[in-house]
Every structure is written in structure tokens, then in C-alpha cells.
Assembly symmetry: C2
Homo-oligomer: 308 residues x 2
């Protein structure tokens, strides 16, 4: 943060201190992106012009007062793309080769040979066509999977996905896939997109992977679908409530792999996030166009906007 500290007065604040620190500030850099401190402190934002968030998803700050204001919102697009793509490919192979079963057997001291599945030739539907979804598509394609995408609008000939289906038609297309990857931005349109009807349309041998946001999924419907063998497995890195409450049945369900919202967090990620803010701050100082400006109506940075 040194380049910022050299050029501006910088106040560091936690949730309790935010209302005071925000008063008179031009710029707010939201580091703890899951905090609700920003909407709570909003009345103190008396001269805020720019809010930058240390995440790809901007849903935690999409409260009406910010959305309807003139405050420019930027995100940390790009930082998480390749790390998350590697993570998703690893989960696909972990399902195909039953790594969890092997570890459970190892912990039990049991030698038990099983047959595994091929990864090559399998089909992955990636719901979310932003930079992270594209990176996932390229990585899975490189490993021999066939991919398709789901976005706001249907189209053909996408360079990363080939076919992109409209999210309104998700239930019609989801049965094609052996792996379904949720990585869409959380908006009013995508909240609860994965519900009972969508899960029921999945191939019963298919697995569901969520590295986007917990609220994309109606969690109780996912649990029901897993119990009814409508979905063969799920790997979840994000949850409606984080940390995942101790009483959630997901902790102990067969064929469910949990991780604590870490799929994109590679060693050095905090430095990378800070550097990205600093680079944008220098554009701000120079009066240049900021990178990664979120379209607050859409709830994400539109494709075609300069990617970082």
C-alpha cells in the first residue's frame, strides 16, 4: 500500500471503525469482501467517489444506495481466474478417480481396488461466462473434456465455450453434462438459479461443482437432489452461510466434498489483490479510465470491458 500512502491520506478501519473512517473519504477499498460493514456505514459516505472490492463477485456491496449512487465500483477481476480453473479441474479428476474414497480407505488402513472413470471425453457445462468461467472452460478443454457455457444470452461459436445457452433455459440443457460448474455472478437473476427443477433435470451420474456463490443454489434443494440420487455428487467451495454451520447435513453426506471458500486463494493472493488496487489507484491519480468497472445494473464487469 506504500504507493497509496505516499499520495493520499489512508485510514485503515474494521467494521466498528468504518463509519468514522468513511466520513470525508474519496475512495473505499473493501478488503473483507464478505463483511456487511459497508451498507451499515453507508450514511457516512459523504464524499465517496470510488469503491474497490478485493473480490471478483460484487454482490456483497450491491445494496440499493450504492447501486443507485454515482460511486464508481471496481472489482478484482482476473486475480482468481487461473487458480480457480486449476481447482475445478482438480475436483473433476478427484470425482472421476475417487480420491476421497482412496483417502477414506487409507485412513481406515484398507486396500480396496476400484475401477475409475475417464476424464477425457466427458462433458462440462459451465454456468457463468465471465473471465473465471472462460479460464475453467479452457482448462477443462485442455484436459480433454467437452465444454459448453450458460450465460445471459444464448449464442454459438464462442471462442471458449462453443455453444452458450441462456440461463433461462438451464433446465433444458443441464442433462447434457457430466459436470456442472456454477461460477456465475450473484445477481437478482441468478440467485437460486440451481433449484429443485434444475437439479432434477441433471444426469443422475453427474456432479455439481460450486465455486461461485452459495446463493446461486437453493441448498435444501441440492441436499434433496443428492439424497434422491438425482445428482451423483457435489463439490462446494461456497455456501449460503459462511462458515458453513455445524448443523448442515452437507458436512457428512456421501459424495459431497467441502472446502472453505478458498478455490482462488493461492499463495501470494493478498499481495496480488493489493497490487491490483494500487495499479488502479495510480490510474485514478492520473485521471485515466479505471480497470474493471462494474456495470451496476448487470452486477458484473461486462465482457469487452478492458480485462486486467
Amino acid at each position: 500500500m506504500e504507493p497509496v500512502e505516499n499520495a493520499a491520506t489512508v485510514r485503515y478501519a474494521d467494521a466498528a471503525g468504518l463509519p468514522d473512517a468513511l466520513r470525508g473519504a474519496d475512495i473505499l477499498f473493501v478488503w473483507d469482501f464478505l463483511s456487511t460493514a459497508v451498507p451499515d456505514a453507508w450514511p457516512s459516505a459523504d464524499r465517496l467517489r470510488w469503491l474497490h472490492i478485493a473480490s471478483a463477485g460484487v454482490d456483497p456491496v450491491m445494496f440499493p444506495e450504492l447501486r443507485d449512487s454515482d460511486v464508481v465500483l471496481t472489482n478484482s477481476r482476473g486475480v482468481f481466474d487461473n487458480p480457480i480453473a486449476e481447482y475445478v479441474l482438480g475436483l473433476v479428476i478427484a470425482f472421476a478417480k475417487d480420491f476421497a474414497g482412496s483417502l477414506d480407505l487409507q485412513r481406515a488402513g484398507t486396500w480396496r481396488h476400484r475401477e475409475t472413470e475417464r476424464v477425457g471425453g466427458k462433458r462440462a457445462l459451465i454456468v457463468g461466462t465471465g473471465p473465471i468461467g472462460r479460464s475453467i472452460a479452457r482448462m477443462l478443454t485442455a484436459a480433454g473434456l467437452k465444454v459448453a457455457g450458460v450465460g445471459r444470452r444464448a449464442r454459438e461459436g464462442d471462442p471458449d465455450f462453443g455453444a452458450v445457452h441462456a440461463s433461462d433455459d438451464l433446465a433444458e440443457h443441464i442433462g447434457w453434462a457430466d459436470y456442472v460448474v456454477a461460477v456465475a455472478p450473484l445477481t437478482e437473476k441468478t440467485k437460486g438459479l440451481f433449484d429443485r427443477r434444475v437439479f432434477a433435470a441433471m444426469k443422475p451420474t453427474a456432479r455439481f461443482i460450486n465455486v461461485g456463490r452459495g446463493e446461486l443454489v437453493v441448498t435444501d434443494d441440492l441436499i434433496d437432489a443428492l439424497r434422491a440420487d438425482e445428482v451423483a455428487g457435489a463439490a462446494l467451495d461456497v455456501f449460503e452461510t459462511e462458515p458453513l454451520p455445524a448443523e448442515s447435513p452437507l458436512w457428512t453426506m456421501d459424495n459431497v466434498l467441502l472446502s472453505p471458500h478458498m478455490s482462488g486463494d493461492v499463495v501470494g493472493w493478498k499481495d496480488t489483490l493489493a497490487e491490483l488496487f494500487v495499479a488502479n489507484f495510480e490510474k485514478w491519480l492520473a485521471g485515466e479510465r479505471l480497470d474493471n468497472v462494474v456495470d451496476k445494473k448487470l452486477g458484473y464487469v461486462p465482457m469487452g470491458a478492458e480485462p486486467r
Copy 2:
């Protein structure tokens, strides 16, 4: 096996029945490739001309009497290449993203965020430059790793590996790698190749993956190296003794992932192996050159021989 049964007298035998069944037979198809029944029954091989084995490695039948005989030996080269390559890539990602740690934490009901490692940009040294090693090299390259190979002779500009180092110089080159993959054929030259000296030369953050044969490794040296933090982790699918004995410390060591000799065994593998034998049998009947003829001096099918 129907096409074979239609054209020849076929006898099916277990280890006990093999001496009787082998008497008078022209062809022996060894299905249980880890069995020692063949050397034991060898005195009954009174007119054997061709032995085919349902595995890539032929070490279990490389006893002196067969090696020095005129019996043609063929293997099941090709069947396991891509399945094992996928498996190895999965293990690499599982280490980088600590999937085992996540599963242990899940089983304990604990939410604990950690930072993970990138896979892209990491270096993998693949010891074994046959078809399986090549498939691993291509798969890891596709996922963004840098690769090099280790084979009998050093060379540059290999299409899959780039640089190939001589196995005699393994200890000089192994320190370059973040991941070391053992997939060499087991021969007199490669037996015990991975010993104390080689492990001590590894990068202390590197992981060792064995999908070849347990006897490539001096297991006690690997255990010592893991305990001395000279090697950061190991994923082992093959062992000097299989099943791995209950008293082996490997079962419970940190950062050791075990699986029961299954990395290449995808659903349908048995059919694929049978089909490969049948196809070769039809060449035999037609008097054509057999596929996958092992050079019994080398102990494997030389590159440049027709791959299947």
C-alpha cells in the same frame, strides 16, 4: 474372447491349473499380471511360441528362462496411457490444492481456510519416456506445467519432453522439479533407481508420485526422506509388496497419498485389454507382425515400434 474361441482351443486356468493347461499350448495370455504362476509352470511350456500379458510392464514375466527363449512377448501398451495421465494430473492438483487436508477437515467438521498453490508454471520431471510417460507429459503441459523427461539416454528436442536426461544422471537433475513422476519400466537398470541419494537431491518442497512399479523405489529410503523433510509428499499407487502390508508406516504418514494399484484401471479396462489381445491374435492367425513386441533385452517395447 469369442473370436479366439472360434479359431483355437482355449483353456482357462488359475495358478494351480496352469502347468497342465500350458502343456501343448502355442499361446499364453497372462491375465493376472502380478502372479508368479508363469515362472513356476514354465517347465510345462513345451511348445509355447507367444506370451501376451495384460499389463504395460512386463517385469513379472521377465524370468531368465523366458528371456533367453524364442517365445515372443507382447504387452498391453496403450491401454493405460491416458487414464494414468489423468490420474497423475489429478494427484498434482490434489497436492497443490491440499484436497486431502480439506477432506480430513471436512470429516472433522472443521472450517479452516488455507492458501493453496498454483499448478501453472510448476515443473514436473517424468522418469520414464514410454507411451505412459509421454501421455503424462502432454497432459501436464496442457495444464500449464513445465516438463522434462528422464530416459535411458540424454537428448534434446523431444516432442513431448523437450529435454530428456539420462537416468544415470537423475540425482543431478531431480532438484529442478516440483513434481517427480516415476513411470519407468522395471528393469535391472531401474530397480531401486529412487534411493536415498536421489531423494536427498530433491527440492524439499517437491512431491514424488509413483504410478510405475513399487520396485523402482527403495521404500525405506523414501520413508526416511519424507521423515527428514527432504521430500514434501508422496502419492503412491504401486508398492514393492501388494497389497501394501498393514504394518507399513506409509499408511499413516502425513503427506502420503496411497491408492491400490488402480491409476490406469478405468471402467471398461478389462474389455479393452481383452480386445487388444484378440486383435493381436487375429494378426497371429493371419501371419502378420504382432503389435507391442517387447525387446526382451531392454524389458519394454522400444519407441519407434508400432504403437497401438
